[in-house]
């Protein structure tokens, strides 16, 4: 089986590893770099738990090979907070109780970051559509939508 050297910039830092060609980006992050904040919920491209940003766009890292991300810049949930200061989206999810078990949350936050980049002030309907690729089995989504709205306000420099 083929092995190849892959260099990926993750959360601002370059990492070079020699991995099997079949290595999924999510396995590269979790197994090689021990960045276990990115979760695997379904492994079938449905749930969005594994969402990370590749060159600034949200993708499902269970459905991309590490080799496809060779040379790319990746941001994971671990790259969101600045030292002890939560990212505004993390703060909003926490304050709005946008989670229960928290399993879907890293993916929800990365998907929210992607949505708000394209649309800084989404309506409820636009939030439903923007998070269509992410499933949550706990919350019923109501507080997640609230958290996205608060995130949008915080990111636009407004108050909670």
């Amino acid at each position: 089986m083929n092995m190849a050297k892959v260099t990926i910039k993750v959360n601002g830092k370059n990492h070079t590893k020699t991995v099997e060609d079949r290595t999924l980006l999510v396995d590269f992050l979790r197994d090689e770099l021990k960045l276990t904040g990115t979760h695997v919920g379904c492994d079938t491209s449905q749930c969005g738990c594994c969402t990370v940003h590749v060159n600034g766009r949200a993708v499902k890292s269970c459905t991309m090979l590490a080799a496809q991300a060779n040379g790319a810049s990746v941001v994971t949930i671990e790259g969101m907070a600045k030292k002890d200061k939560l990212h505004p989206i993390q703060r909003a999810f926490s304050e709005c109780h946008g989670l229960q078990c928290g399993f879907c949350t890293p993916g929800m936050i990365m998907a929210t970051a992607g949505l708000l980049k394209d649309n800084p002030n989404p309506t409820d309907a636009e939030i439903y559509k923007g998070l269509e690729g992410n499933l949550c089995r706990c919350t019923g989504y109501i507080n997640i939508v609230k958290a996205v709205k608060m995130s949008a306000r915080l990111l636009r420099g407004g108050k909670r």
């Binding site: 491209s45 949200a58 459905t63 991309m64 269509e132």
Partner: protein, 267 residues
């Protein structure tokens, strides 16, 4: 993920050469269909030849009355392209309705058209707009390209380079999403083209097809009432746990009427 060998092609030409030498190799574009297929062990290619990063496949432009979309253009790029929105807004709208944002950030038009999933959206637009599929070997008219369930006119080793859409006078697409997957339970693309009205249906049957009876009925005006009682042969329609044949046949009529309503500016 099971064992595989990955090759990053430096150009379309190099990819074509590699495929010619390795008949069991497969192209990898966005990977949103192929990687799940490999995980499910429904395919076992010797190599994956990645063309998803090639800039030569990502161009979008209008030239000589046609909209040219490179095979590697991602759904998100087509959905948000100012060129596409101006030339064929219905196509940009269709791309924006595919799957979810993460899928649209990776999936490509070439991969979707080559795959020809019976519930995929792009085949309806390619057929409805009488587009031409340009490959490394030839140009294939949409009417000859789609050949039913996951089957196309593509030969082994043939790579889609771009799709050329003649600009329609007007066009609209209406889709009934499967609530979980986002795929089309039924999708209808209606276009007024230089060659007349075309009505293409996806999601309902074993592959996208033209509803010729509806085309004839709409020839004298794009009015929803013209569709009343128009024959729709649903004997071969998909009959599965998501929807039965009769339900899909009804959805086709409803989606066709909604597309017509969009054409007349009514929601």
């Amino acid at each position: 993920m099971y064992a595989l060998n990955y090759v990053k092609a430096k150009s379309v030409k190099e990819a074509a050469g590699f495929l010619a030498r390795n008949p069991e190799a497969k192209l990898l574009s966005g990977g949103m269909t192929l990687l799940p297929t490999l995980k499910a062990r429904l395919a076992r290619p010797t190599h994956l030849v990645d063309i998803g990063h090639l800039a030569e496949l990502r161009k979008i432009a209008v030239k000589g009355g046609r909209l040219l979309v490179g095979a590697g253009a991602r759904h998100h790029e087509v959905a948000t392209s100012a060129v596409v929105k101006k030339a064929i807004p219905a196509l940009a709208g269709l791309a924006g309705e595919i799957g979810d944002p993460q899928v649209r950030n990776r999936g490509t038009i070439g991969g979707s058209v080559a795959n020809n999933d019976p519930a995929a959206d792009y085949p309806a637009a390619v057929l409805g707009l009488a587009a031409t599929v340009v490959t490394t070997k030839r140009e294939i008219a949409a009417d000859r390209f789609f050949q039913g369930l996951f089957t196309t006119a593509l030969e082994d080793g043939e790579i889609i380079v771009r799709i050329e859409f003649p600009l329609p006078k007007r066009a609209a697409y209406s889709k009934f999403h499967h609530p979980a997957s986002g795929y089309a339970m039924a999708g209808v693309f209606i276009a007024q083209t230089a060659g007349g009205v075309r009505v293409a249906v996806t999601g309902a049957g074993p592959g996208a097809f033209r509803w010729t009876a509806a085309e004839a009925a709409l020839a004298n005006g794009l009015k929803p009432a013209a569709l009343e009682g128009v024959k729709l042969d649903s004997r071969e329609f998909n009959n599965d746990m998501h929807a039965d044949r009769e339900y899909r046949a009804n959805l086709v009529r409803v989606m066709a009427k909604r597309a017509l309503a969009k054409l007349s500016g009514k929601k």
